[in-house]
């Protein structure tokens, strides 16, 4: 091998090596392990006695009316639906909707004030998960110790119990208040990168605030919004820590990721069924991949990643 070729190879190894190791070790290997484990009978002792599809058979039950002779088992169907509702509402209301509102309003404010509000919205992200969850537990406590009920009692309204009456709303809000900050940061920097003269030109042409947002800001946010949608969708699909910390293993918020966690590692929930949990996780991975590819196509992300035809500056 010539020295230049050797250098090329060693450079490639040097630059791509760490990232490749990271990708293989932390992303690819776990998926392969999950795939293998889901087709075994691994439970409490982590020993594998046989390769089997019985974990997947636990998710369905025979039915004469169904297409393939079986239908989804009620608890699994329920987990799928709860995941869909949870991900959809957290994503649209908070991670995209609210993040956009925050980015638009804080960039419209004078520099320092906008920065202050953004910093406040970043606080939940910076606090440890357990502390954040404890605060939520205090907020939604059904007794008169709860913050929400204290506020309601001042306004003369009776106490409410969100954990019982609106459990999905609790986990959507708890995850959304944290999740909105990431979108807010990305969208803020995207708004900041819009050339200043476009705003002046629009104003000179007589555009109002809403017109500026519609014709100048939003078109510039297309790619960041697509990216946030795909990324946050995947993150929400597998998230369970706040659900578990706030709701515990409640049936009302037993999403797919919670189901997998409670069957495998969660304390005091009949856990230790590693292969069963792996099968549920494998289905989550497949759903994640399918939806990510679909969103990729729908938002035309490919165009974002192609090389620009002209050199910019």
């Amino acid at each position: 091998m010539s020295s230049s070729k050797f250098r090329q190879a060693s450079n490639a190894l040097l630059f791509l090596g760490p990232a490749s190791l990271f990708l293989i070790g932390l992303l690819l290997v776990p998926i392969i392990v999950d795939l293998v484990v889901s087709f075994t009978d691994m439970n409490q002792t982590i020993k594998v006695d046989e390769f089997t599809t019985k974990q997947f058979r636990k998710l369905v039950k025979p039915s004469e009316e169904a297409w393939f002779g079986f239908e989804l088992r009620s608890s699994f169907y329920r987990a799928l639906m709860l995941s869909a509702i949870y991900v959809f509402f957290t994503l649209t209301i908070f991670n995209i909707g609210f993040a956009l509102v925050l980015a638009l309003t804080t960039t419209a404010l004078p520099g320092r004030l906008g920065g202050l509000f953004r910093a406040i919205w970043l606080l939940p992200r910076m606090s440890p998960s357990v502390v954040y969850a404890l605060l939520w537990l205090w907020v939604v406590d059904p007794t008169d110790r709860g913050l929400l009920n204290q506020i309601l009692s001042i306004t003369g309204l009776g106490p409410i119990n969100p954990k019982l009456d609106a459990p999905i709303m609790v986990i959507v809000c708890a995850n959304g208040f944290i999740g909105a900050s990431m979108g807010m940061l990305i969208l803020t920097s995207a708004i900041r990168s819009i050339p200043e003269h476009l705003f002046h030109a629009a104003r000179a042409d007589g555009a109002g605030g809403l017109s500026v947002i519609r014709h100048i800001v939003l078109p510039a946010l297309r790619w960041p919004l697509s990216y946030i949608t795909v990324f946050q969708f995947l993150a929400l699909l597998v998230s369970f820590e706040y659900i578990f910390l706030i709701m515990g293993p409640a049936r009302s918020t037993m999403t797919m990721s919670m189901l997998s966690y409670t069957k495998t590692l969660a304390p005091d929930t009949g856990s230790g069924q590693y292969a069963y949990g792996a099968a549920i996780t494998l289905i989550l991975i497949v759903i994640g991949m399918a939806v990510a590819l679909l969103l990729w196509r729908l938002t035309n992300m490919k165009q974002l990643l192609t090389q620009p035809r002209i050199e910019v500056q």
Binding site: Q44, T45, I46, K47, K58, K61, R73, S74, S75, L137, D141, P142, T143, N161, K163, L164, P167, M247, G248, P249, A250, R251, S252, T262, P267, D268, T269, G270, S271, G272, Q273, Y276
Partner: protein, 452 residues
């Protein structure tokens, strides 16, 4: 060499040494790995083993032997005994099997199936005098397929606590309060009467909540299920068991309690803190829990001694499901399990020493657990500080144990989802029963027998 003969040899060696003959000396440290969850509620569970090793070392020293037993304490930080047992099973499957384990008894089935637990029948027979006083019923808790794989370390009794002051405020007289335990025992006061009484306390304004139960999966529910005739374990087949009609009756009862206002509908979403606070803060008439609460109850209500305690609180078994039935309660012993390792004979001997009256009483009295030996009750320390435990020991007459079956954790978790569904109003008792039976059939398969 069998366990028995090894102990005979050990005993003979000690005898030879103490009678002045010189035993062959060899400098050797024998390390005993002791697996125990870091648990403030029982520091002497591992502590008594360490003390036993020290005692044994003094015997070796006196015998002129250089052998010393070193206890290597593996203190784990799992959140509960279930999580701890799962960690232990993982450690075992990678070859790190400890010699002694402190565990919740219902895991014994899993431990035996995994080849982790040593059969102790030979050891117990060979050391009969060391175990002769153990309360016989407790041996059931360490039995798996008819043989013993553990030594009970402590026991407890779970019951319904009643706040007498709330009953008084609700207009009940002393005669009613005094007669309550007797009525429960006779099967005259049923689970439904319990909910009616609790609802009466709430309606009269004497209590904010009628009664509270644990807010998560756990053994307590088993005694209520037993009251409705569910025999959770089929010993002949070593399988878990459920009765469909019994399960529906049990869920019917929970639904009834929520509907009559005696049980909070969101009980399953409470935290432990708010559950304890509701009873200890005098807001709830009843609580469904265990004897180790006594210490905290004394502090919370500002009581000193037996008389003040029983003036404030009454204990009853879980009442019968229907009139004339038998009340139930539950004991959930923590046990020592000996790992099937090369040191198992020595490890078992340390366990035997730690299970004697004096060390076990230090643990039991210090942590409000009932004794494992009958004779402990007569000890001055028990008489003086353990009055609550002495009062609780007769209740063990109706005690059930959790089955030592590998899938009991799953079984409890699934039946608990029915509790959640009924109490929160998501399902009717019939729907919940159907859902739970389906889950049990699918997840436990052949391990559960479903009866009508």
């Amino acid at each position: 060499m069998t366990l028995t003969s090894k102990f005979t040899t050990l005993g003979a060696a000690a005898l030879v040494a103490t009678t002045g003959l010189v035993a062959p000396a060899f400098a050797e440290d024998v390390t005993i790995d002791l697996w125990s969850r870091a648990d403030r509620s029982g520091p002497l569970r591992p502590g008594n083993i360490v003390a036993a090793a020290e005692q044994l070392n003094r015997a070796f020293e006196a015998a002129g032997s250089d052998t010393r037993v070193v206890v290597n304490l593996i203190e784990t930080n799992a959140k509960g005994f279930d999580a701890d047992a799962l960690n232990l099973l993982k450690a075992h499957s990678v070859g790190e099997t400890p010699d002694i384990i402190v565990a919740a008894h219902e895991w014994i089935g899993s431990f035996v199936e995994a080849g982790l637990a040593a059969n102790l029948e030979g050891h117990i027979a060979a050391n009969e005098a060391m175990y002769a006083d153990i309360i016989p019923n407790l041996w059931n808790s360490v039995m798996y397929k008819g043989e013993r794989y553990g030594i009970p370390q402590d026991s407890e009794v779970r019951m319904f606590f009643v706040n007498n002051d709330i009953l008084r405020s609700a207009g009940k007289d002393e005669a009613f309060i005094a007669a309550l335990p007797g009525k429960v025992e006779a099967g005259e006061f049923t689970m439904y009467d319990w909910c009616d009484l609790a609802a009466e306390a709430v309606e009269s304004g004497a209590a904010k909540y009628g009664w509270v139960h644990r807010p998560n999966v756990g053994p307590d529910f088993q005694m209520a299920m037993a009251s409705f005739g569910i025999d959770i374990y089929n010993e002949d087949e070593a399988k878990l068991q459920i009765t469909k009609s019994g399960l529906e009756n049990y869920y019917d009862w929970l639904g009834y309690c929520v509907n009559n206002g005696s049980l909070p509908a969101d009980m399953t979403t409470w935290t432990w803190d708010s559950t304890h606070a509701a009873f200890r803060g005098g807001e709830s008439m009843g609580k469904f829990h265990g004897i180790w609460n006594v210490g905290k109850q004394l502090d919370a209500f500002g009581l000193d001694g037996k008389e003040a305690y029983f003036d404030k609180l009454t204990w009853i078994h879980a009442p019968a499901g229907e009139k004339g039935g038998q009340p139930k309660n539950l004991s959930h012993p923590i046990v020592y399990v000996v790992g099937d390792t090369e040191n198992k004979e020595l490890a078992a001997l340390l366990v035997a020493m730690a299970s004697q009256h004096v060390p076990n009483t230090a643990h039991a009295v210090g942590t409000n657990h009932t004794p494992i030996n009958y004779g402990q009750i007569a000890m001055p320390e028990f008489q003086e500080k353990g009055w609550a435990l002495i009062a609780g020991t007769p209740m063990l007459k109706y005690a059930e144990f959790m089955p030592n079956h590998a899938k009991i954790g799953q079984y409890n978790a699934i039946t608990y989802t029915g509790v959640q569904a009924v109490e929160t109003g998501e399902m009717t008792p019939a729907e919940a029963t159907e859902m739970v039976i389906e889950e049990l059939e699918i997840e436990l398969g052949d391990d559960v027998i479903i009866l009508d």
